[in-house]
Amino acid sequence: MAASLAALRNRESGLRPCDFEDADLPTWVGRVAGVEDEPLTGEFSVFDCRNNRLARLALEQDGFSTAVRQVRDRYGMERIGVFVGTSTSGIGATEQAYRNRDPITGSLPETFDYQHTHNLFSAADLTRRWLRLSGVALAVSTACSSSAKAFASAFRHISAGFCDAAVVGGVDSLCLTTLYGFNALGLASTQVCRPWDRERDGLSIGEAAGFALLEWVEPGDGCIHLLGYGESSDAYHMTAAHPEGAGAALAMEQALAHAGLQPEQVDYINLHGTATVLNDAAEDKAVLRVFGPGTPCSSTKGWTGHTLGAAGIVEALLVGLCLEQGFIPGTLNTRQRDPNLGAGVVLHNQEKTLRIAMSNSFGFGGTNCSLLFGRGEG
């Protein structure tokens, strides 16, 4: 978190021209350096793949696994749930296995372990085993809203009494499927992504893992609070966002209603802001409809790239930093705001006391989720 904060403050992007494996594509990516050198070993070696390596690295950052150990002693290992969002899970392992098929039989190599790498549940399974938890566990997989919706799922499970606390997270890693897939759709930019820019022409794909611990707390404890969530479906098109942003607006309205808040009480919105021409235009309309042009907002995709199923947790954590530190990160790489867009997009970092902030995540299939976070001050 400290390195992320410094990068936000110093406006240092993690995006570079594509340097992932042998992918020869004219695009930029956010690759986490060193994942290649951090294999999972011992009892966890069955889980070894890029996606799970990234998840394991995140579990060991910022004292997270230690914090979970403490609540585990309080609640019991069977009363802490695990909710991990992912879009492609460890499909990279299957891509490699397909390239190494037996030339005669067509079979996959003996070393390939579908269950513990490619299957959508594998990162949630690894998380549970790594943290020595035995309660409910599931993978949420709703494309780019996955780890935002993981918060909603965890909230419901805690409210229903299926668990007392929850490890909420998300992980997606670079793979050929998404790199070549987004390029085939013409949605990956040849330059670094420029959200809300008049010259924006697509996203930069990134990879990330992140985790948060969710439990009931008293006001005034100093933690970041999940104040509410809102979800909706576009019911419009499998991949194109609703042109008026109707589903996105509905998710934001539902989040406000769930939290019992008015739009003017929200101090900052972390946009989905992928920098594709149509997605930003649709989200802009939605923000204007719910909040008008006055609420400061920005996209942090210029730092991280679009981390797909991990975007929800990454941006929830960045929003937490903004609330704690009292600042708004100005949208990185964006040189000139699109004059056709009207939301209050901030281009330069601003110091500002924030009490309540929203994070937006929208995905293929028309799946939308907005989260509201606040500082836990009395």
Binding site: Y98, S107, S141, T142, S153, S159, Y180, G181, S232, F364
Partner: protein, 268 residues
């Protein structure tokens, strides 16, 4: 907060084509007989979309459609009737993932845009929303072999905390070769349960969900049905479907994966 009313069920698997026609088989009054799935399923999709979509999407939508039809005739003309959905599937659409991974072995790595569109786990949810016009939320999840139990728990938590009906849709299909060598799913199976936290005039069963996770999962006496239960994560629902079909009061323990169960009392 532990009661769910099952308003309606949709079911599609070999020899189990539709809830009403499968009831006697599930209750043990008739033998299970192998039969291919009917060709015309998921008729709520427009014909051109039905041609374009995969077997996975059609199977998921077929059972969802059957459950909704069973709850209220003519529901499609009422925009407010379709509830939020939970979709549970261990592996999603492996036919699509196989085609993408195969394309990536070719020198030009030409991933088909259509395949990439359909590669996300929530593709059936997207088609369902488009077909019904329902803008209410949906959650697609996986918990490997425990996917049905995880879906039922998610649907229950949703129904109780947000006081709403929820449509649970669980489905899994055999994987194509070569993935089939590493993940054996013996036959397609899909089931949908329309769940209501509040009492309803028409209902098939009442479920009282139990909090604990320890115990042994129920199995089925019928060898073929047990092979289906053990060989498809969505078919882990079969002990529950049997209890509902038998119209009896009893305890059911569903395999929740990793040696855990989801237990419940089932009453007519």
């Amino acid at each position: 907060m532990n009661i769910l009313h099952v308003e309606a069920i949709g079911l599609m698997a070999p020899g189990l084509a539709g809830w009403e026609s499968s009831r006697a088989v599930l209750a043990g009054e008739q033998p299970w007989q192998a039969a291919p799935l009917p060709a015309a399923i998921a008729t709520l999709l427009p014909a051109n979309e039905r041609r374009r979509t995969t077997a996975t999407v059609k199977l998921a939508l077929q059972v969802a459609q059957e459950a909704m039809d069973g709850a209220q005739e003519g529901w499609r003309s009422r925009g407010d009737f379709a509830p939020p959905t939970v979709l549970a599937s261990s592996g999603g659409d492996s036919e699509v993932l196989d085609k993408i991974c195969m394309a990536l072995t070719e020198p030009d790595r030409a991933v088909s845009p259509t395949q990439f569109h359909h590669s996300v786990h929530n593709t059936p949810a997207g088609y369902w929303a488009i077909a019904t016009g329902c803008v209410l939320p949906s959650l697609s999840l996986s918990a490997y072999d425990g996917s049905f139990a995880a879906g039922l728990r998610e649907a229950a938590a949703w129904a109780w905390t947000e006081t709403t009906r929820v449509l649970l849709i669980a489905y899994d299909l055999p994987l194509p070769f070569p993935l089939s060598e590493r993940r054996m799913i013996v036959a397609p199976f899909a089931v949908a349960l329309l769940l209501n936290p509040a009492p309803t005039s028409e209902r098939l069963a009442v479920l009282r969900i139990k909090p604990g996770r320890s115990g042994a999962a129920d199995q089925l006496e019928d060898v073929e049905l047990e092979r289906l239960r053990a060989g498809n994560p969505a078919a882990r629902s079969l002990p529950l479907l049997r209890a509902i079909a038998e119209r009896r009061t009893g305890l059911v323990a569903l395999d929740a994966g990793d040696n855990a169960v989801l237990g419940m009392e089932v009453t007519p």
